[in-house]
């Protein structure tokens, strides 16, 4: 019922500003850090290279991003592991 009333009174989109704030926050993290998504892509590739020496990972589902943590920017990597290699030793 509340939804019906708010549609009549034209408030169906009261929450879109929250979406805007969140999107803006993320875009600005990237802009201010002058880190391009391509730069992150390069970091991701190198991380994959190193980790591949020790474990098998799901590269498709791997995510590397910059996030705001209080007053600082954090590099957050989510790396799904398929299996750990028995002999975990870097090559070379």
């Amino acid at each position: 019922m509340l939804e019906v009333l708010s549609r009549v009174f034209g408030k169906e989109n009261a929450a879109s500003k929250e979406i805007a704030k969140e999107r803006l926050r993320l875009v600005l993290v990237h802009d201010r850090a002058t880190v391009s998504p391509r730069f992150l892509e390069l970091i991701k590739e190198e991380i994959v290279e190193v980790i591949a020496n020790y474990m098998e990972i799901d590269e498709e589902r791997m995510e590397v991003s910059l996030n705001n943590m209080d007053d600082a920017v954090a590099l957050v990597a989510s790396i799904p592991v398929r299996k750990v290699k028995r002999v975990a030793r870097p090559t070379g």
Binding site: I19, R23, S36, R38
Partner: protein, 266 residues
């Protein structure tokens, strides 16, 4: 062979990017294969208006400087089935990172693969503008019914003619019919008289524009928006259809909203 259309204005803040996002989306809705180019290097925004900002890997400068292939830099809009793409601007470079010759070459390559190539021009009349118009077959000028915007539109018309980009067409954005009725805003005829160019369409002021850019969903995807209808009509006219200007009567009163809610409105 497709058509390259630049969307420009001179003055900033009149709605070039919103217009580009919506016309591109509308043209894709109408069955065309479309690519949008954000030519505003250093101040990119078409990505956020389209809601594609998280998908950027490569950009326009990466393509023109040969760091990646053109195909790698095109971001596919997943709301469409391989018919709508974005080539984002670089955010960390400046406008001199691309030359007009490189842009013209890029446009040539893209129009071999797409029905429409829409270029979102930066504000101003310097190199960014020259880049944006370099490969264009057709120019759309966006203005609002304000003295400053119309003045800048006039200057842009002159510069387009100097660059031999003839017959630009006008889009009047953010028209408020209640103010026009009271005589407090220039009307369509006033602006056409002053600028003496062909009118392509009129977009009414619409709160849904803000909501849609908040969400990153072009307003043409919202069937209830008057601005969305206006953009769909303009897209049809771009394709050569003869679509009359829509009525710009205000329909946002409580009574109209109730009518629409109960399905009595058109």
């Amino acid at each position: 062979m497709g058509q390259v259309i630049v969307i420009t204005s001179g003055k900033g803040g009149v709605g070039k990017t919103t217009t580009c996002a919506n016309l591109g989306t509308a043209l894709a809705l109408l069955g065309n294969k479309v690519v949008l180019i954000d030519a505003d290097i250093g101040l990119r925004n078409l990505d956020v208006v389209m809601g594609l900002e998280n998908r950027i890997v490569y950009d326009l400068v990466d393509v023109t400087s040969g760091i990646c292939r053109l195909k790698q830099a095109l971001i596919k809009d997943k709301r469409f089935n391989d018919t709508l793409f974005l080539l984002p601007a670089a955010q960390t470079k400046d406008k001199t990172a691309v030359s007009p010759e490189q842009m013209a070459d890029l446009c040539q390559r893209l129009k071999e693969q797409f029905d429409y190539v829409l270029i979102d021009s930066p504000a101003g009349i310097e190199q960014g503008f020259q880049n944006a118009i370099a490969g264009a077959d057709r120019a759309l000028i966006v203005t609002t019914p304000e003295i400053s915007a119309v003045r800048d539109a006039d200057r842009i018309i002159g510069l387009l003619e100097a660059a031999e980009k003839n017959s630009p067409e006008l889009i009047i954005n953010r028209l408020r019919s209640s103010m026009v009725r009271k005589g407090d805003m220039m009307d369509i005829d006033d602006m056409i008289d002053i600028l003496a160019i062909q009118l392509l369409g009129v977009v009414p002021e619409d709160d849904q524009i803000v909501v849609s850019s908040n969400k990153g969903e072009p307003v043409v995807l919202n069937p209830d928006s008057k601005a969305g209808v206006a953009y769909r009509n303009i897209a049809g006219r771009i394709m050569g259809e003869d679509i009359p200007l829509m009525s710009l009567e205000e329909e946002n009163g409580l009574f109209q909203r109730l009518k629409r809610f109960f399905g009595w409105a058109q």
